[in-house]
Symmetry: C2
Subunit: 141 residues, 2 copies
């Protein structure tokens, strides 16, 4: 992992991989994977979204969304509801159990993050978080 003279984008890639691995390990015990978590997390920020929106925002193929929602629905973490205005569309919403699961997973995520950001003190972590968030918001539409 030591590539000292690497540039920032590459560092982001490497650390993202590592962070993803850690998250996956945590999620494994609940039978989920990172993609499920990403979907739940997005749903928690919008309170219901049609699958097409999930595909666009998360960058997954529509067919991938189908099986992800299938899995989560099987665990009763989300529901498919008919869209009032458009009968083609189905809006996916978090169930109460889904919200609980997300809270639990977030706690586990915090532990992972604590581990990952070992060498940084509280102030540094806040600074890093702020910087990353600004970069992430770069391409919101």
């Amino acid at each position: 992992m030591r590539a000292l003279n690497a540039d920032t984008g590459y560092l982001l890639y490497r650390l993202g991989l590592q962070s993803g691995r850690l998250f996956n390990a945590i999620l494994e015990e609940s039978g989920l994977r990172l993609r499920h978590y990403a979907l739940l997390r997005y749903l928690s920020s919008v309170a219901g979204a049609p699958q097409r929106e999930l595909s666009d925002r998360l960058g997954y193929d529509p067919s991938a969304i189908v099986s992800l929602v299938d899995d989560l629905q099987r665990l009763e973490l989300v529901e498919r509801r008919p869209s009032p205005g458009d009968r083609r569309s189905r809006i996916v919403v978090l169930t109460e159990r889904g919200k609980d699961a997300l809270r639990d997973t977030d706690k586990a995520g915090n532990r992972v993050t604590d581990d990952l950001l070992g060498p940084l003190d509280a102030e540094d972590r806040a600074a890093l978080h702020a910087l990353l968030q600004r970069v992430a918001e770069r391409d919101r539409s």
Copy 2:
């Protein structure tokens, strides 16, 4: 991509994915992928390493290293040399052409990073880079 209340580890994961996609797009034209680049980059920092070390440091399976080195050797970017002390082991070294290719790819990587870090000024970028580097050096052995 907007998951506003996400924690830092998850942000790292999402941004790492995006950064990886951008890098892969750049590398595509030279017939390489991110893993090849990671391998070249590591080799440039140690001047020769047995495949087992590459596997450990980069976190890829030994079998993955085989095909990666195969690819790079086919492009004459690296060479397999017999290890003086251990005939089981083969040390992989950069060729001159490999060093050139790495330089070119680094330039392209800088362009990608510039794009990714759009909203940050020079000072912020330096701060982010320093923070990421400290996290990355957390688990050097």
